[in-house]
């Protein structure tokens, strides 16, 4: 097979010639990571679903949580995603000041969300919830709550850390549009996961 024929095969298989899907390996790997990480959360939510269905009854979430507060947490995360998308847009347009502003606003949103999660955990723990027991009747309720929101919180902490690195690199003039975009992909994924946690754990 000559080089031209090999190029045609690659084009037909990947739609991007020598670069799969005409994108960098870093971005492709980030997408693959996101898909696999989504399956991790799908697994956690499936476990929660089986436990809930098998139990037959479940605590009324509106009696355990302050739903307005959970809605505020959701609003904060969605808004931080808006700022992150704007930071990516600014990076692609070469506007360093926009990248700086929006990345810091995203970090602020992430820290606010984490602060609210700490408050929520403290409240629930203060009311007697533990991994193996809680005052609302179903022992597994506490485990599901702490494990699912805890895993998500760890992702938020990781995202804020990545964004701090991006912010520092931007301040030093060492940022790249793709670097900001990769950080953005991860941050939006954190928002994406919360959409499903919010729907399945808090609302259903």
């Amino acid at each position: 097979m000559n080089q031209s024929a090999a190029g045609q095969v690659a084009e037909s298989a990947w739609g991007g010639g020598v670069a799969p899907f005409a994108t960098s390996w870093q971005k492709l790997m980030m997408w693959i990571f996101i898909v696999t990480d989504a399956l991790l959360f799908a697994g956690l939510l499936v476990g929660y679903g089986v436990i809930r269905v098998a139990n037959g009854s479940w605590p009324d979430q509106s009696e355990v949580f302050h739903m307005n507060f959970i809605a505020l947490m959701t609003f904060t995360l969605i808004t931080s995603s808006l700022f992150m998308a704007s930071a990516v847009g600014g990076a692609q347009a070469g506007r360093k000041s926009h990248v700086t502003l929006y990345v810091w606003l995203t970090i602020l949103g992430g820290l606010s969300f984490l602060g609210m999660q700490v408050y929520e955990w403290s409240t629930v723990i203060h009311e007697g919830a533990r991994l193996t027991s809680n005052p609302w009747g179903i022992p597994q309720f506490g485990a599901c709550f702490f494990i699912i929101t805890g895993f998500h919180g760890l992702h938020v902490i990781t995202g804020v850390t990545i964004l701090l690195v991006v912010a520092i690199r931007t301040a030093l003039g060492r940022y790249s549009a793709e670097g900001v975009e990769l950080a953005g992909l991860y941050w939006h994924f954190v928002d994406l996961v919360w959409v499903f946690i919010f729907a399945f754990f808090y609302l259903i």
Binding site: G15, A38, A54, A85, Q92, L192, I204
Partner: protein, 100 residues
């Protein structure tokens, strides 16, 4: 990717739609609907929000179709299968608990 990502208007529009969907989901969550209807509507709302985030905030709409197919199949089809199969298993356990 870069074609139309320099203006921020589209992001604000998507943000607005996401907020409206969130409020609708909260309303559905508190409405006096049947459990199955509520679960179906909330799943629909979550899927709509996820699709908007993936395609607009994460710019998947600007990537090659092959990558979009891999991501969407990976997340949604596998996710759906993972939900559907244990849901059946869980309901069997529930039935056994009821009638033992």
């Amino acid at each position: 990717m870069t074609a139309d990502s320099h203006g921020y208007g589209i992001y604000w529009a998507i943000w607005g739609v996401l907020l409206v969907l969130t409020f609708m989901m909260i309303f559905i969550g508190e409405a006096n609907l049947g459990y199955v209807a509520k679960a179906f509507l909330l799943l629909l709302g979550a899927a709509a929000k996820a699709t908007l985030i993936i395609f607009y905030f994460m710019h998947l709409r600007l990537e090659k179709a092959g990558l979009a197919v891999i991501v969407m199949v990976g997340i949604f089809l596998t996710g759906t299968l993972m939900f559907a199969l244990p849901a059946y298993d869980g309901s069997q356990i529930f039935q056994n608990l009821l009638y033992r």
